[in-house]
Amino acid sequence: MTEIALKARHSAPPTALRRFRDWLANPWGRPRFLVLVTWLYILTSIAPVIIAIQFSFNSGRSVTAWQGFSLSRWYWGDPVDSVWHDPTLQQALFQSLKLAGLDMLVATPLGVILALGLARWRGRLAAPANFLMLFPLVTPELVMGVSLYLVILYLFTFIHPSTLAQMLGHVTFSLSYVVVIVRGRLFSIGRQYEEAAADLGATPWETLRLVLLPLLLPAILSSLMIVFAISIDDFVISQWLSCGAQCDTVPIRIYSATRAAPLPSVNALAAIMVYFTVTALGLTYLVYRFMTRHERPKGGGAAASMMGDIGGM
């Protein structure tokens, strides 16, 4: 471009578009283009959920047009269609919570000892066992769902499609998450505390119980939280191992409702799950902060180290 052309370009009166472009691409300040993309992304990822929750408070029967605010209609107010009074919705809510509770109860202890074993076992079979543990993390749920469905249909025929089968499936896919979280914590605390305890005369059992277990508690807590969240979230495994309407979980109900004509009560049901998870997350954070109050994490507070525990994968 010649000198004159350049001058002409610079002296042209800036249009609104030009000014916006210059503002966006300013080479000296913060990268505004990135700021814009980031906030737009965050907005689009969260706004739909907020709007969906908003419609659980709709006073009318529509999930797409706002007809006024009603706090309770779709939660418990409506005598037929509210979450509390519609037996299918109420049942789904309890089924989801039941599965999540059972999953936490079984997968967490099983995962903790598996993590300990895998992290410290140096035998010839340790490597294949580690490899096996990683598989459920990367296997598409559909493949897991189909295989569990077929195995209870043709091989383990004594487990019928049932709550028990769903629970077994949930534990199978949540186990590896617990292992990854607990193992991460194991590596970060090192072995010096246990060695000190042993030097001071503690028996192996005492070291495990009085030294290692308390040190692992934050990771165990994070694991409980994650297991709860992924069990509540699961749709595929619950669906493939479902015994019919009696085994419907919240995601299954949402799934079938979106394909029929949904009422705001489905939004209310989904919103209740969000309230549950957010409350659980908040509580976990508080307890976590309490537990790790004597630790000085490098940079960032309890939130950062909790996320470090969780984000280990």
Binding site: P31, F33, L34, V35, V37, T38, Y41, I42, T44, S45, P48, V49, I51, A52, F55, S62, T64, L110, I113, L114, L116, G117, W121, R122, L132, M133, F135, P136, V138, T139, P140, L142, V143, V146, S147, L150, Y154, L155, F156, V171, L175, V179, P204, T207, I232, F235, P251, I254, Y255, R259, P262, N267, A270, M273, V274, T277, L281, A304, M307, G311
Partner: protein, 296 residues
């Protein structure tokens, strides 16, 4: 300090669990896929002994993936949807991850918290939200009518491939951003400073330093979301529900829940797993390598 046998004993219950409820079920798929079919009831007769395996029906299904055959179209469509959704996720996700690691400063914690928020909302809930928004009378169409650019807004929810692709991207982006963020965070900043000192413009520094260094991160994160996307059947069902947009996962689901031939479904599952196995192997290889480096 601990007895040697303690750790294998600790690992035992979990390993047994995974063998019984992860490996054995997969073997059941193999058994059904390579087994026979009852001539009268058409239900599968699984073959547990490898010597009894009969590959004819499996090969028959496999040949359906040849160009122009039964599953060719659906395979192409699945690859196309996943490919486009993955591209969208990367185009949106990379700048977000990059911004948060490099420039967010004091906002970092807040942004991270907002970023993991979708993880705590169930996938189906987010799809429900999506469907509510894109319903014929929903907010999106109301907005389109308000702009008056569009007089008859499109029907998003009946066999519209655009909604399926957008739905997939919307659903899986959070799972892409976090690993990407972790890998960008690990890049040594002094390398960038060196590039800038040696006279590279910010853009060139990004192109020649950051981008090459984040290649593994990009590949890993892409694999993490490509795997579940390939096995997805509920997203197309929810946002479209039409056979015009059905993916491989829908085909598998139909063979089990709607159709009479679970053995074909098992064969398809096996083919899908083999196809994804390549991606999985790559991913697990990189994870194992990173773990070894972390432990060393």
């Amino acid at each position: 300090m601990y007895p040697k046998w303690l750790w294998p004993i600790f690992a035992l219950p979990g390993v047994v669990w995974l063998i019984l409820l992860f490996l054995t079920p997969f073997y059941a798929v193999v058994g059904v896929a390579f087994g026979g079919v009852d001539p009268i009831f058409q239900n599968p007769l699984p073959a547990w002994n490898p010597l009894d395996w009969d590959f004819t029906s499996f090969l028959d299904t496999l040949s359906g993936f040849l160009p122009g055959r039964t599953y060719w179209g659906i395979f192409l469509r699945t690859a196309e949807y996943v490919g486009i959704a993955l591209a969208i996720s990367l185009i949106v996700g990379y700048p977000v991850a990059y911004y948060i690691t490099r420039h967010s400063g004091r906002m970092k914690s807040l942004l991270l918290a907002l970023l993991i928020l979708p993880f705590w909302v169930s996938y189906l809930m987010r799809m429900l939200a999506w469907v509510n928004l894109f319903a014929p009378e929903g907010y999106v169409n109301a907005f389109l009518r308000w702009t008056t650019l569009v007089t008859t807004p499109p029907d998003w929810l009946n066999g519209n491939p655009v909604s399926v692709i957008l739905g997939l991207a919307y659903g899986y982006i959070p799972y892409l951003i976090l690993p990407l963020l972790a890998s960008l965070d690990r890049i040594d900043k002094s390398l960038l400073e060196a590039a800038r000192d040696l006279g590279a413009s910010p853009f060139r520094a990004f192109l020649h330093v950051t981008l090459p260094l984040s290649k593994t991160g990009i590949l890993g994160a892409s694999v993490i979301i490509a795997l579940p996307m390939f096995g997805d059947y509920y997203t197309p069902n929810i946002v479209s529900g039409s056979p015009k947009t059905s993916m491989l996962g829908n085909q598998i689901e139909i063979y089990f829940h709607g159709g009479p031939q679970p053995s074909v479904g098992a064969a398809l599952t096996l083919i899908l797993s083999a196809f994804l196995g390549v991606l999985m192997a790559y991913y697990m290889f990189t994870v194992a390598k990173a773990q070894r480096e972390a432990q060393a």
